[in-house]
């Protein structure tokens, strides 16, 4: 009974270790010397060499990897070259924007998609279904950053309901901060909701054809009860899988969306760090995002067993 979770856990950890090696190796080949970058073009070769030694850049590759990976495990990410502060502080500060943003978007996407999927599946082939799925088809095709621009135009420029960009900080109070996350969250959520609605619908349609649904109906259960209690629960596996994948999309999506709205989040941090060759920040944030994706997918895998008891006994 414990074999399945254990196997998933081992695979997740191995993936994480491999991923960290890939990230480390890729950034090793990145052109540009961080020591030279910090000291500027006028520094002498000796000064650069000294700083390289101090920063540990001259140590053997394997040692540097182990040192870095060990640091990650103890949440010591090192110091940013450009900001001259510990990376963990930067990350903590930026997470305060990105995490609520991603969570609001995920919640919005789920709240919109599941009912639409249920509605469409139970009215399969009828006008309501056609309209809803047409809208979903359109939603899948919309690039979130363009959608964001259109939202800005309508709600910020035209109606002046919300700010067009920027973030006042949580110190300014919860409402102003939430207000500036509202448009970005909608922009992130809607294309994802479109995908999720389609998946929910097709998963439900498949389940609704099963014999036990007919049995449940035959024994006199009202349609609504069958839909929610029997069908939705059995359709949860594909839906959960997509939700897990969407989390990765949302994280990546924040990079673009935070740039559209000038939000000081993790995505914008990593984008700026890449262009400024701030390796330590890039490595740390990328690893953090990868770890988050792996963790979420692990959770999704494990939750299958909760949703579907048959999987609990699978080895």
């Amino acid at each position: 009974m414990t074999a399945y979770p254990l196997k998933r856990l081992v695979i997740a950890f191995a993936t994480l270790v491999l991923a960290s090696m890939v990230v480390f190796a890729v950034l090793e080949i990145l052109p540009g010397d961080p020591a030279r970058l910090m000291l500027g073009m006028n520094a002498s070769a000796d000064q650069v060499e000294l700083l390289r030694t101090q920063m540990g850049l001259n140590a053997p590759l394997v040692l540097r990897y182990l040192h870095w990976a060990g640091g990650l495990l103890s949440l010591d990410f090192g110091r940013s070259y450009t900001y001259s502060v510990p990376v963990i502080d930067l990350v903590r500060e930026r997470l305060a924007v990105s995490l609520p943003l991603a969570l609001i978007a995920l919640a919005l996407s789920t709240i919109i998609a599941i009912p639409v999927g249920l509605y469409s599946a139970s009215r399969r082939g009828r006008a309501g279904d056609t309209v809803a799925m047409g809208a979903a088809q359109l939603g899948v095709a919309v690039p979130n950053f363009w959608f964001a621009l259109m939202l800005i135009y309508v709600f910020a420029v035209w109606l002046r309901l919300v700010p067009a960009g920027g973030f006042p900080g949580w110190g300014a109070g919860a409402w102003p901060a939430l207000k500036s996350l509202l448009l970005p969250a909608v922009a992130l959520a809607l294309p994802q909701a479109a995908i999720l609605a389609r998946v929910t619908r097709s998963a439900l349609i498949e389940v609704l054809n099963e014999d036990y649904i007919r049995t449940a109906r035959a024994k006199g259960l009202p349609y609504r009860a069958v839909l929610w209690r029997h069908a939705l629960r059995n359709a949860m596996i594909p839906v959960l899988t997509i939700l897990g994948l969407q989390f990765a999309f949302l994280l990546a999506g924040t990079i673009i969306i935070e740039n559209v709205f000038y939000l000081p989040g993790l995505g914008r941090l990593v984008f700026q760090a890449i262009t400024q060759r701030d390796l330590i920040v890039v490595e740390s944030v990328v690893m953090l995002l990868v770890a988050a994706v792996i963790a979420v997918n692990l959770l999704v895998d494990l939750s299958y067993a909760v949703v579907d008891p048959r999987l609990r006994t699978r080895s």
């Binding site: 993936t15 080949i29 899948v140 095709a141 363009w146 621009l149 800005i152 998946v199 990593v270 990868v290």
Partner: protein, 289 residues
């Protein structure tokens, strides 16, 4: 002779007749053709020269002279959208080519071999899927420099595991069939069987996935260009046009509306085409992504 088990006793004429009754297919096909035509026409004719800056005409709204208006340099947006189509299509198409070219042989090989080879390949797949694709594409283009070619590579790399997975899953379903057993009995090697008997039978799956990845590639390219990591000016690209539009939303909203519509319509067309193909050739298959 190869057997096509997905479409038993159906002639080409039969499939075509079915295709023309399928609304999704017809709509998607027409849209895709129109976009392709637009890109091709742009090589020989555009309403205006997209490299010529006419400051006197800058940020003009849509009019008969400029159907989609002009940008901040007085360039005709319609012409830029036409030329931009080339870039989007080229990047996404070659990226799909990379995914198919590398991913399909890998997936087919894993399915044919099974065991450790298969397990190893699936774990590498997991590894690639752990990286948010866009984040990695941004890293790749930032490391090797922005530009259309690096955008292609960055997007193409992430198509590889997708096609490997689809090819593997498809091939695994084909291998237990009787005609494979017959081919084996005839003394064919597993490579031969993969090429001659498995591939033709998973072609539909690959075609459908191809349209999905094509559409996703267009979206990804637009995202990279928007961040300044895709095609570089003066070559117009839809994503770049949206970036230029952003700070001018108040004075020139059309600068954002039309390139965005171009992306939406192209992606919509490709998705409908994929849905249609899946429906026509295998009504049971439900597209999921």
């Amino acid at each position: 002779m190869t057997m096509h088990v997905d479409i038993p006793d159906e002639t080409l004429a039969g499939i075509l007749a079915k295709a023309f009754r399928n609304t999704a297919f017809v709509t998607g096909f027409v849209i895709t053709l129109l976009i392709l035509a637009m890109a091709l026409i742009s090589y020989i004719w555009t309403p205006y020269d997209v490299t010529k800056l006419v400051i006197a005409d800058k940020t003009q709204g849509p009019s008969l002279a400029h159907l989609f208006g002009t940008d901040h340099f007085g360039r005709d947006i319609l012409s830029m959208v036409m030329v931009g189509a080339r870039n989007s299509i080229a990047v996404a198409l070659v990226a799909v080519g990379i995914g198919v070219g590398v991913g399909v042989p890998l997936g087919a090989f894993a399915a044919a071999r099974g065991g450790l080879v298969d397990e190893a390949l699936m774990r590498v797949n997991d590894l690639v899927f752990a990286f948010p694709a866009l984040l990695s594409a941004i890293m790749i283009t930032a490391i090797f420099g922005p530009g259309a070619v690096n955008a292609i590579i960055a997007i193409g790399i992430f198509n590889i595991p997708v096609f490997a997975r689809v090819a593997r899953a498809g091939a695994l379903a084909i291998w237990p069939r009787e005609f494979i057993l017959a081919a084996r009995a005839a003394g064919k090697s597993s490579t031969q069987i993969s090429i001659e008997h498995v591939l033709p039978n998973i072609a539909t799956l690959l075609l459908v996935q191809g349209t999905i990845q094509f559409a996703l590639g267009i979206l990804a390219e637009a995202g990279l260009s928007y961040l300044g990591l895709g095609a570089q000016p003066p070559m117009p690209s839809w994503g770049r046009m949206l970036f230029d539009a952003q700070t001018r939303m108040v004075v020139a909203p059309w600068m954002a509306i039309f390139p965005g519509m171009a992306i939406v319509i192209t992606v919509l067309g490709l998705n409908l085409l994929g849905d249609g193909i899946a429906d026509i050739l295998d009504p049971k298959s439900r597209r999921q992504r």
